[in-house]
């Protein structure tokens, strides 16, 4: 009974806190995967806003972070599906969000232009020393999700492709499908040209499932798809080797505003990172993309299974 009263009180306080920061929320933004949106319970510290990028894996990770922190009694808001790295890093720095799931190698390449090594620890250390003063990363997980260049089985057999380098010889016949930002990034057309002398005949700027469809339907011959994407095994796509380590090592890591870090949050997120490995991550993405489950429901399920929420 006492618990009940506490909970009601907590909800009321949370509602007030949310109403207070209402100006900061975009009322037209979709709720977190249709339900888990603006929930929270008051307790320790100030309110925390967890953001995520515009693909399902990031959204599940964001919901997991939010759930784990909420379980520690901190008031949490989630802002899923913000956009590409360029957009959410800005949001992080201007305080619109406080935490976002990130990838060590991609973030390092984004900040510095190159990622020095494939060794996960070396990348992680380099990332820590490269981050702007107002941002910080907590423990990395062993879960890896790299950018990768993927082709269909037919294309692979037709040109006997093994690595990305083999694409260069057939570049006049190859159209690449990737997100629009791929065009101007080092981990994108820029790096493909400088590292592999590969400049595709055509570039299709698409998003999410449209990239997979373009590759499957033959509008594109190669595509930039995440290594944990369930569409790779589902369609028998082949991931090309990356001998020059353009897409390096990419471990999942929470990126935070330094002024929001405290022991409660650190403990909650490090406990999450300890529980996520590549197989778990692949399964989480599959539940959202293939089984069409709600990202917040998948996150809740993961948290309760691992005793984190």
């Amino acid at each position: 009974m006492k618990r009940r009263i506490l909970l009601t009180g907590a909800t009321a306080v949370a509602a007030l806190a949310l109403a207070a920061c209402g100006a900061n929320n975009n009322p037209t933004a979709p709720p977190a995967g249709g339900g888990g949106g603006s929930t929270g319970s008051a307790g320790g510290g100030g309110s925390i806003t967890v953001g995520s990028a515009d693909f399902s894996e990031s959204q599940v990770l964001g919901e997991i972070y939010a759930g784990a922190i909420k379980a520690k009694g901190v008031s949490v808001t989630s802002k899923p599906n913000i956009g590409s790295r360029d957009v959410y890093i800005k949001a992080l720095q201007d305080g619109s969000i406080d935490i976002v799931p990130e990838y060590t190698g991609s973030l390092l390449t984004f900040l510095k232009g190159t990622a020095p090594s494939q060794d996960p620890d070396a990348v992680y250390t380099a990332l820590k020393s490269t981050l702007p003063a107002d941002l910080v990363v907590l423990d990395k997980s062993t879960a890896e999700d790299k950018n990768s260049m993927v082709v269909t089985k037919d294309t692979q057999a037709k040109y006997s492709l093994k690595s990305i380098a083999d694409l260069a010889a057939h570049q006049a016949d190859i159209t690449v499908a990737a997100p629009p930002e791929f065009q101007t990034r080092q981990q994108g057309l820029v790096g493909l040209k400088s590292e592999y002398s590969f400049t595709p005949a055509n570039f299709l700027p698409l998003k999410g499932a449209a990239i997979v469809n373009a590759l499957k339907n033959g509008q594109a011959q190669a595509a930039n798809i995440f290594s944990t994407d369930p569409s790779i095994p589902a369609n028998g796509f082949v991931t090309l080797e990356d001998p020059k380590l353009l897409f390096g090592s990419d471990n999942v890591v929470p990126l935070l505003r330094k002024d929001k870090v405290n022991d409660t949050i650190t403990a909650a997120l490090n406990a999450v990172s300890a529980k996520i490995d590549t197989a778990t991550l692949t399964d989480l993405v599959k539940q959202v993309d293939v089984d069409k489950k709600d990202a917040s429901a998948v996150a809740k399920d993961f948290l309760s299974k691992n005793g984190l929420g």
């Binding site: 629009p180 930002e181 055509n202 299709l204 700027p205 698409l206 449209a210 339907n217 509008q219």
Partner: protein, 263 residues
Amino acid sequence: MLNQIGTWLTDPTHWTGPNGIPQRILEHLIYSGISLLISALIAIPLGIMVGHSGRAKWTVSLANSLRAVPSLGLLFAVALWLGPKIASSLAYVIPSVIVLILLAVPPILSGTYAGIQGVDPAARDAAKGMGMRGGEVLRKVEIPCALPLMLSGFRSATLQVIATATIAASISLGGLGRYLIDGLSVSDYAEMASGAILVALLALLLDGLIALVQRFAVSPGLSGKFRNTPGNRPVVSTTARGDAATETASPTDRADEQREALV
């Protein structure tokens, strides 16, 4: 911000190559031009037929009701359906053109229909009295009399198509929409704003061009520029002119909404 837009627009590297402004404007005009041409080929004969015979008026209502279809949703739906059938970038071009045709047909059709229907029966009778046959009446009297409304329908269709052709960029095609989508993905607001400004300028420029055509193509007897006989009254009735005014207002509003939805 204004400074950044100025810098972006005047940067010489943005004016050359496959990503350059001239190339993007050309692509934009090609998508819009093809869509408008096909729309005109559908809507003008149909409008003439309905206006002339007074039958099958439901086609006009049907076309108008199609204005309610959300363009972006339809674009994705058609692209998703056509994707597995065509293994080339036509799988993106065709959906875009279909969506634009659906936007352009209603104003052209309504304009043509209202124009032909609004022709003063006295003028028709006079033409017949002079010994003109059906085809001649249509060519020499009805169409010239309907021309102001037909052109104003075409003008509002053009405005809307130019503004909406930006959505082609969301399914990988070129055109000025590229600057909106690519700018958003790397949060380059100067690029996005410049893209939006270019779309607006292009729309205004074409609108002005058609206005000029309207001025020169419309018979002086209709435009009121040429009134040496005092008893000469315009053959297009005032109600038809009223229709034209309402026709032009609503599509522009919708184009605005779509631009907002995209940004």
